[in-house]
């Protein structure tokens, strides 16, 4: 298990995440875990009581979690959004752009490599969930 990486100022949420079914089954849980095949939109009515959404990445190839993150951020979710599982260093910048702000990678991520990779691209072509300004906006003010 690699170290938890966080890009938030608040304290890490301690409560263990429950499954989506358990969460929707009228629990008081404030942390929930979404598996790749589950529909994050089911959480939308409850966003104000959620402090942590953990999105599972059982295999790095499975990219459904990227859409899960964007759906939640676009709906206004501001709590912690964690990518857990097979998260590789080269994926973290893309995940950050989709709105993830914490990472629980299965294998350790080298911090120097990660730093370089997060700083590498000065510009992005498209708007996403991270607030980066797309180049078309820079071109036209």
């Amino acid at each position: 298990m690699g170290d938890l990486l966080r890009y938030r100022d608040d304290a890490a949420h301690e409560e263990p995440a429950v499954t989506l079914d358990a969460f929707l089954g009228a629990s008081n849980a404030t942390a929930v875990r979404i598996e790749p095949g589950e529909d994050a939109r089911a959480l939308l009515p409850h966003l104000d009581r959620i402090a942590l959404v953990e999105v599972a990445f059982p295999a790095y190839r499975d990219g459904r979690g990227y859409s899960t993150a964007r759906v939640l951020r676009e709906a206004g979710y501001t709590g912690e959004l964690r990518a857990e599982g097979d998260v590789l260093v080269d994926q973290v910048p893309l995940m950050r752009r989709c709105g993830f702000d914490s990472f629980a990678p299965r294998a350790e991520i080298d911090s120097a490599t990660l730093k370089a990779s997060l700083e590498r691209y000065e510009f992005v072509y498209q708007g996403a969930a991270d607030g980066a300004v797309p180049v078309w906006k820079l071109r036209h003010g």
Binding site: R61, G63, V124
Partner: protein, 543 residues
Amino acid sequence: MYQYDKYDQSIVDARVEEFRDQVKRRLAGEITEDQFKPLRLMNGLYLQLHAYMLRVAVPYGTLSGPQMHMLAHIARKYDRGYGHFTTRQNIQYNWIKLDECPDILAELATVEMHAIQTSGNCIRNISSDQYAGAAADEVADPRPWAELLRQWSTFHPEFTYLPRKFKIAVIAADEDRAAMRLHDIGIQLVKKDGVLGGRIFVGGGMGRTPMIAPEIKNFVTADDLLSYVEACLRVYNRYGRRDNIYKARIKILIHEIGADEYRRQVEEEFVAVKALGIDPPQAEFDRITAFFAPPAFDAGASDAIDRTDPDFAVWLDQNVKPHKQPGYAIVNISLKKTGDIPGDASADQIDVMADLATKYSFDELRVTHAQNIVLPHVAVRDLPEVWRTLDAAGLAAANLDLITDIIACPGLDYCSLANARSIPVAQKIASRFADQGRQRDLGELKLKISGCINACGHHHAGHIGILGVDKKGTENYQLLLGGSGAEDASLGKITGPGFDEDGIVDAVEKVTNVYLGVRADGERFLDTYRRVGMEPFKEALYG
């Protein structure tokens, strides 16, 4: 042509450094081949049977003389002196060393080129009509739309780990020269009440389950384009199958849930996505469009031409197409000379084509999905000189769209997935029909060969298609008839039991003989097949 500004250049330069770092980590053993694989694939680097293969992007098939020269330079310096133009309008090099790859990318970046997203489960290089900007039948130049999509799809954070690869084509004419409806998303630009918009087709593709894309939306304007395709992709990324790689393309999702249900989900998603403000303003669309303004044609150029040289006249009739500007023509350079490997060109030939583009075609070339090259804007008065130069370089084969203008994938000679060789079969068929009069008599006949079910050689879309299969350890070839990738798109049907390598060449000859025997006036092979059906062909093959 589109030209990079500091933002485009910065992104491509950063990509070179990123890949340099990834290769360094791989060579140092910091990452395993398994971890490196998705990284190199995202950059067009495959591990083939004998070496690494690098696929370089030619966005919507358009490139300049200096860019073409760079492709020749790379062939000479890093490969064995040639390159292979692909059905995706790209170029691949088959003998690349991993440790040299970052330097190749750095050289490409100096002429605004790259290998970004030429493989991997992401949005691939956008393809388009090779006659864009030159064809008389287009409602607009489709390339500004393609460039808009290129920028939007480059390093799209949400769509880099899709269920499967994703291909988009944009055309702007009723005649479909880009096999648009055999793409994951096909866009045809049309005008409605004077306004330009796109018809959106989703869910086409080749592979083991070929499908022709249904229309999902009949009109999307440029200012909604990115939101609309983002919605299309998001529905796919969330619900496309990931349990079976053969069922992971978007065509299967749409086939399983139905076009109506898919459309409903996209419309719902579109409402949410549109509110995010991800569509660039008109000013950005205008900025891109300005790069594709027509070149400074000579308004007084004449269409008069001296046809006394018979070889020149044959080439003129077969390979030169009308241009929308009087006094100009579109020149197709066939990379299918008998005996050659379809789509291959030597470094010297690439240089010749680059020079011709600079001198006679406003510095522009195109790569076609039929693995040929186009000089889009040649003055009619320059055609004899262009032809002489091409002829001297072995590039004047007058066989565009004839039976020897064969599309063939690399097959078992290079590809690790292949069941059978494609190249030798293409060469044998080309030799059999080498006689110019014979091929011209057969007329338009699109023959396409794939070395396995993945269909990179588009065999389903061939008037005659050939599919290499493995039959108890030996190479065997199935014959298909009746496919088309054009505006009358259809999928070929298998004739029956397959053939060995020589048998398939004979089989092709037999079906062409049936055609010659029963064709009505003006009918192409495909038209005759559609009229008389499979039976007479089967009879000749197996009767």
